[in-house]
Subunit: 413 residues, 2 copies
Amino acid sequence: MNQLGLWIKEKLCELNLTESMNTPEGFTRLGYTNEEFAAHRHFINIARELGLTTYQDKAGNQWAVWTVDTKAPTIAMGSHLDTVHNGGGYDGVVGVLCALASIKLLKEKHFKPKKNIAVICFISEESARFGISTIGSKAIVGTLEKQKLADITDNEGITIKKAVEDMGLKWEQIDQAELQKSELDQFLELHIEQGKQLQENNTAIGIVKGIACPIRLLVKVSGVANHTGTTPMNQRSDAFVAAAPLVSYINDEALKVNDTETSQLVATVSTFKLMPNAMSIIPGEVELGIDIRSVDDELKRAFANRIKKYCLEIERKHNVSISITTLVDNQSVLLDNALNDKLINICNELGVKTRVMDSGAGHDVMNMARKWPVGLIFIPCKDGISHQPDEYATIDNLINGTIVLEKYLQLEA
Amino acid sequence: MNQLGLWIKEKLCELNLTESMNTPEGFTRLGYTNEEFAAHRHFINIARELGLTTYQDKAGNQWAVWTVDTKAPTIAMGSHLDTVHNGGGYDGVVGVLCALASIKLLKEKHFKPKKNIAVICFISEESARFGISTIGSKAIVGTLEKQKLADITDNEGITIKKAVEDMGLKWEQIDQAELQKSELDQFLELHIEQGKQLQENNTAIGIVKGIACPIRLLVKVSGVANHTGTTPMNQRSDAFVAAAPLVSYINDEALKVNDTETSQLVATVSTFKLMPNAMSIIPGEVELGIDIRSVDDELKRAFANRIKKYCLEIERKHNVSISITTLVDNQSVLLDNALNDKLINICNELGVKTRVMDSGAGHDVMNMARKWPVGLIFIPCKDGISHQPDEYATIDNLINGTIVLEKYLQLEA
C-alpha cells in the first residue's frame, strides 16, 4: 500500500476512535454525544497536522480551513462523523477523511490555491437519536426549525435542547451557525454509496445527479387493549391485527410500482411501537413509522396517498381508529449539472470508470444545495451494506475518491 | 349504601393507595416494587383492625390469620395487590378485600370458627414486570424454578433476584415460603371475571370449573438490516415484512377454530420488538410474543404446532430465518368439584344467580390447585374490561362476593 493509503488507513481508525476497523459491534457515535465530539477532536488534530486552522460554529459543526485570503471565496467539502447505533465506520467518515487527504496531497505538491478551502464535520447527520437528520447542515443553511425541535426527545427522554447544551453549546445561539450565500462558493460531499450499483457495475466513482428525499408518515392505530385470555376472538379490537396487513401492503405495492414505473421508489415500515406490549394484554395501540423515497416527488406523494386510502379500509374492516401524521415531506434535490460535468471530465481524464446515478439516501449536501452549487461523489461499499458493523470500503476506494477531490480543487481552487 | 358497602368502598381506596377509584391513569404497582409493598402495608393495617395476626413469608407473600387453634387446619383465601402498568384497581384487590370483609362479617356475628382462617396477598402475580406470573403462589406451592428465574430482567435491566433483595428479602430463602400439604386445608380465590359473560347473562357470581393456562411462544425472525433509501425493494430481507402475515394468520385461524371446535381458544400476538427500529434502516430482526389459551390442552398445542408450520412457510417465502422458543406451556387446571358444589348450593340458598364457567385468565389459585382443594369465584366487571384504568366493578358486586365467602366459611370453618 502506498504512503497515502497508509495515512488514510491510520486516520480512518483515529476518526473512528478505534485500533482496528474490524469491530464486530460496529461503531456508536450518536449526534450530540461525547462519542461524536471525541471524533471531532481527532478531526481537529489531523487538520492541525495539515496546517489548517480549526473552529467550532454555534451549532457544533467542526470546521478546518486552509485560508489563503480572507477576502477570497471558500470552497467547502465535508460530511459527518456521527453514526447510527452499532453502525459502520465509513458512512460520513470517508467524506471527511478524503477531503483532508485531498488537501494533504495539494500541500505535498505545494499547490497554491486562489480560494480558501474548508472541510466541515457536520454535527448530528443521522436521525438515529432524535428522528431528525442533518441537524448541522440545516443550521448552516438556516433551515433548522428550532421551535419544532426543542422538545423532541431521544429514547432516554433527553430533549435535543438539553443534548445540545450538555455539549457546551447554547440552544439560543445555534441558528447563528447560518452562513450567507456569499460566505461559501460551492460545496462538495463524498460518501459511500450505501447501495450496490457501483460494485455491480465494477465502477470506482458515482456522480450523483439527484437525491431521493423521504416522505415519512407516522401511522397510529388505536384499538382496545384487553385481557388476552378472557376476550373472545370475535369481540376484539386488536390494533396489531389491524395494522399487520398495512406492512404487507406497503411492501407489495412498492414492488409493483418498480415493475411498472420508470423512476424507482422504495417504501419501508422501519419503526414500530406496540402498547402496552405485555403478554397478557391485547395490543391496544400500535405506531408505524413509514419511510418512502423516490427522486420522483409526484410518485412518492401518490404512494403516500395510497397508504392513507388503505388505512381508511383498515378502519372500516377492523373497527379501529387511525391517525396519520406526515413527519417529513422533503422535495427531492437535484445537484448542480455544471459541477457534475466537471467531475465527469476529471474522472475521464484520470481514466476512472464513473456512473451518473441517483441517491436513495439523504446527505448533508441536500441542505447545502439550497444555497450553493453542490456536488455529491459516491465511492463503492461492499455489497451495498451500510448502517451496520460490516459496512466496508477498501482503502483503494478512498484513494480514488481522494484523487478526484484533489483534481477538482486543482481546477476550481 | 349499607355499612359494609361503605367499609368496602373505603378500604378499596386504601389498598389502591388512592383517594378516589376514578383515576384516569389507573394504577401501577408492579411486582416487587415499593408500590406493591405499600399496598401490603395497608393490607396489614386493615387486617390488624380486624384483630388478625400478620406476617410476611420468605417470598414476600403477606399473610393475615385468624388463629383459633394452632393445631387446627387452616382455610386460606386471597389474591394479589400488584397490577400491570396503568392497570385497574379491582384485579386482585377485590379478592383480598372481600376475604377481609367476610372475616369482618363473621367477627361482627361473633362466629366461632373451628379452623384457622388465613388471607394471603400473593406477591407479584402479574407478568407485567418480568414476564413471569404468580411468583408468590408458585413459591408457596414449591413450583418456583428459581435457577431459571434469577437472571430474568425487567425493562430497566433489573434482575428478579435484585428486585427481590431490594425489597429486603433473601433470594436464597424464597423457596422457604413453600408449605406442606398438611399446612393448609383448602384455598379459595375471588376475582373479577375479566370477561363479559356474567354481565351479559346478568349473573352475580361465577363459579369456575377450569382455568385455561397459556402456551407462550417467542418467535424471532431474522432478516437483513440495511438502508431504507438505497436497498431496492427486490433485494431486501425485511424481517417485519416476513412476520406481518403471521399476525393475521394467528388471528384468522383462531377465529376459525372457535367456529368449528366446541372448546374455545384465544391466540394473540401481544408483545413485539423490532430492531434496529430506526427510520432509515430496514428491520433486520423482529420478535413476536404469542399467547395461546384454551382449557383444551390438546387444541392449544395443536394450534401452537400450526404456528410453527406456518413459520417454515415464511422462512421459505421471505428468505429469513426463524427461531421459536416455548416460554410457557402450562397444563390447564381443573378446580375442585366438591368445593364448587358447595359454592353453588350456597348461592342457591342466598338466591344469587350463578354461572358455572371456565376462566381464560390465570390466577394464583391455579398454582394452589396443585396441592390443595381450591375454588375460584368470579364477580362481574363492567364490559369485561380489565388491565386498564377503566376496569370497574360495583360495590354491590363486591358485597355479593363477600357474602358468598362468609357463608362458605360459616359452613367450612
